[in-house]
């Protein structure tokens, strides 16, 4: 069956986020009262799997092996069947 995974890769707490800090300053310069901005990456993965359980294992493995670096990233995802 086809599954669509909505994966979010975020920097772990305490890991420096130069992009987030630069965007915070830019928004403040445009007059917005912004306290903090943090950035993250999002991947929508359309893939084949036998059943929900296998889909879960597959996306888990994709996140650990390629999409994220376990040292500095936390990852989360939602799964839905795409028929």
């Amino acid at each position: 069956m086809r599954y669509l995974a909505d994966v979010t890769i975020k920097l772990k707490k305490g890991v420096r986020d130069p992009e987030g800090m630069t965007i915070t300053r830019a928004l403040r310069n445009l007059g917005f009262s912004v306290e903090e901005v943090s950035s993250a990456k999002k991947y929508y993965v359309l893939f084949e799997a036998e059943d929900d359980e296998e889909a879960e294992n597959k996306i888990e493995e994709m996140c650990r092996k390629l999409l994220s670096n376990p040292i500095i990233h936390d990852y989360s995802y939602t799964l839905e069947v795409k028929g």
Partner: protein
């Protein structure tokens, strides 16, 4: 009291202090007495290297060395390794390696003008090694490109022994007028020490001692001990520091690297025979609630300390505001030679300076001649040379590396005359009469076979790379990457390699002006230990002239300079196709020094249209690379091997 430093060090410190060192004080010793900072297994041997020369303006001991190019124009050169962080997070590890060496050049007063990146990886048919390779290159590319410093030469070597433990060495070259040279040694008690650049967070805690711990503990358990680089802030700190130096308000300057603020501030003070009092509350923080230990020893990137006269503090603050970078008056130099730290109104650290900096007793390691060296398997007789050559040409060690250097902006600053991919990079600066030639690397297989001869040959290899463009070598830097020094055979490799480095430098009469030692390069995950890798960086100069390209053009005849010896061991041919016969390991011969001089003179007469130094893959690969643009016909008669 919990003990976080080795027993014998703890006892020495306790006796000297006359009391138990607290946890923060132990943290300072853990970092400053580490292999990475104190060179405890190598300082005695490194003293045997030739460091003098009439061009040497500043030799080893500072953050980088200064060499006279011509008149009052000097080159600043340094070399660093960032091996362990690059295993944990290849992108940030490699990126921060570039950032660190660039700041070492900057704090001598120089504008960074070029980089070289000798890199060593496991075989890339293994997915983990491929991941490390791709992201190390991406880290160097994004960081170097953003700060606008071109990578003009490098090396990429692949061997099973680097699986899981890549080596990321970086060389940086800067340019400075002699009267503008800045030292990292503190000058005057009563001067303030200001911290500029990024804010401080919990990055890379225990970085220095982390580098001296072999990577047996799986990285996940460590808190994110990786340092994340911000090349944009690095660019701001380069321009801000150079502007402050131009205004003449910088008394001394030092980069914050391994051991963070504690390392840099103590070394700056000790260098000038002074003490220092640090005010940890004044350090600009990125996160709230950092402990004294974290503030002193975190290795947040893109931070410098500058010694400033009290009346110039406001001027430096104004420059920091102009470039939107953090700023704090974090210390004052004192007459009393102590390292004192105040935080939240109380004195947390109070140590004698001479004990903290330079007080680490060197290890006297035992060495035992290596008997184990695994040669590739023996192979039967070889018939089809065409396929053999194709196989060697497609080996990653020989193949054209444009996939790598295409990702580097090697044209920025508009000095790059000879582009990457040839024997050496050549820079043409409109304000200089001479051009600058850069070469780097070594052959780890030859060094593994015979560390003394192999290292000596790396000096020859780099100087012949320079000779083919008519350049004369003027200084050498090095990165000595080895395994665990507690293994007697590894330490024998190291000792022999340093001896070969010194003798090689003396053979060509060129000083070794700086470098770095990196031990514990091994990976429990892959059960590997790196080949002995004494990576060399070499700078040469040549008059302004039209330099021969590496590529042949139609109708030219080819002359082979130098005799060919039966030295097949450690060759790419045997690595690809198995050991064919009882051959020998390559060794140094004085005739090489002579032929290099002759080639340089002939090239300078302008009668050579193209030239290339033969290295990995020998004659066959050399000719194929030179004939890339036109093809070549080669007849080898058995007796006289002329072409």
């Amino acid at each position: 009291m919990e003990r976080i430093i080795p027993e014998e060090d703890y006892e020495i410190i306790r006796k000297e202090l006359g009391r138990e060192p607290n946890l923060v004080e132990q943290g300072c010793f853990l970092n400053l007495w580490s292999e990475h900072c104190a060179y405890r297994s190598s300082s005695k041997l490194l003293k045997t290297l030739p460091t003098q020369g009439e061009r040497v303006v500043v030799g080893p001991g500072e953050d980088a060395a200064v060499i006279r190019l011509e008149n009052d124009i000097c080159l600043v050169i340094g070399m660093e390794s960032h091996n362990h962080p690059s295993y944990v997070d290849p992108y940030s590890g490699a990126a921060t390696g570039v950032g660190g060496i660039v700041r070492d050049i900057l704090c001598m007063g120089a504008r960074p003008i070029a980089l070289m990146d000798p890199l060593y990886f496991g075989n890339i048919d293994n997915p983990k090694n491929l991941y490390l390779f791709e992201h190390v290159v991406a880290g160097i590319s994004d960081y170097g490109n953003c700060i606008g410093v071109p990578v003009v030469r490098g090396e990429c070597f692949f061997d099973e022994s680097y699986s899981g433990n890549p080596l990321v060495n970086v060389v940086c070259i800067g340019i400075v007028k002699e009267e503008k040279i800045i030292s990292s040694k503190g000058r005057r008690a009563g001067d303030y020490v200001v911290l500029i650049g990024s804010t401080t967070g919990r990055d890379g805690l225990g970085g220095a001692s982390f580098a001296s711990r072999d990577l047996s503990s799986t990285p996940d358990e460590d808190r994110p001990s990786v340092q994340i680089g911000d090349p944009y802030t690095e660019k701001l700190i380069i321009e801000a520091t150079l502007e402050a130096m131009d205004r003449g308000i910088v008394e001394a300057c030092k980069d914050l690297g391994a051991a963070g603020l504690a390392g840099a501030s103590s070394e700056m003070a000790a260098g000038g025979g002074l003490g220092i009092r640090i005010f940890a509350d004044a350090v600009p923080l990125r996160e709230k609630g950092l402990t004294t230990y974290e503030i002193l020893l975190a290795e947040s990137q893109e931070r410098m300390i500058i010694e400033v006269r009290p009346e110039n503090v406001e001027e430096i603050a104004e420059i920091a505001r102009k470039y939107d970078i953090a700023f704090g008056v974090v210390g004052v130099l004192t007459q009393e030679k102590k390292f004192v730290v105040e935080h939240n109104g109380e004195v947390v650290v109070d140590l004698p300076m001479d004990l903290l900096v330079g007080g680490a007793p060197p290890y006297d390691r035992k060495a035992r001649k290596r008997t184990t060296y695994t040669l590739p398997s023996v192979s039967t007789e070889v018939s089809d040379y065409r396929n053999i050559i194709l196989k060697i040409l497609s080996s990653p060690n020989v193949a054209f590396k444009d996939w790598v250097f295409r990702q580097y902006d090697h044209e920025v600053q508009i000095r790059t005359y000879v582009k990457p991919g040839e024997d050496c990079g050549v820079l043409l600066d409109p304000m200089c009469e001479h051009m600058i030639a850069l070469s780097c690397g070594c052959n780890p297989r030859h060094v593994a076979l015979n560390p003394y001869e192999g290292t000596k040959l790396s000096i020859i290899e780099n100087s012949s790379n320079l000779a083919v463009v008519g350049a004369e070598p003027i200084c050498i830097v090095n990165c000595l990457n080895f395994g665990n020094p507690e293994d007697e055979e590894v330490y024998w490799d190291f000792r022999e390699s340093v001896r070969g480095l010194g003798d090689g430098a003396r053979e060509i009469g060129v000083p070794v002006v700086g470098g770095n030692v990196s031990f514990y390069n091994e990976s429990e995950e892959f059960g590997t230990e790196v080949l002995p890798t004494p990576s060399i960086g070499m700078v040469g100069i040549l008059p302004k002239m039209r330099v021969p390209s590496m590529y042949l053009s139609e109708g030219e005849s080819i002359v082979l300079v130098g005799a060919t010896y039966d030295e097949m061991l450690g060759s790419e041919f045997y690595e690809c196709c198995g050991v064919l016969s009882e051959s020998n390991a390559p060794k140094f011969r004085r005739e090489y020094v002579e032929s290099i001089k002759k080639v340089r003179e002939v090239v300078r007469q302008g009668i050579v249209s193209s030239a290339h130094d033969l290295s990995i893959g020998g004659l066959a690969v050399g000719i194929c690379k030179m004939a890339l643009k036109c093809g070549a016909e080669v007849r080898i008669e058995h007796d006289s091997a002329t072409l």
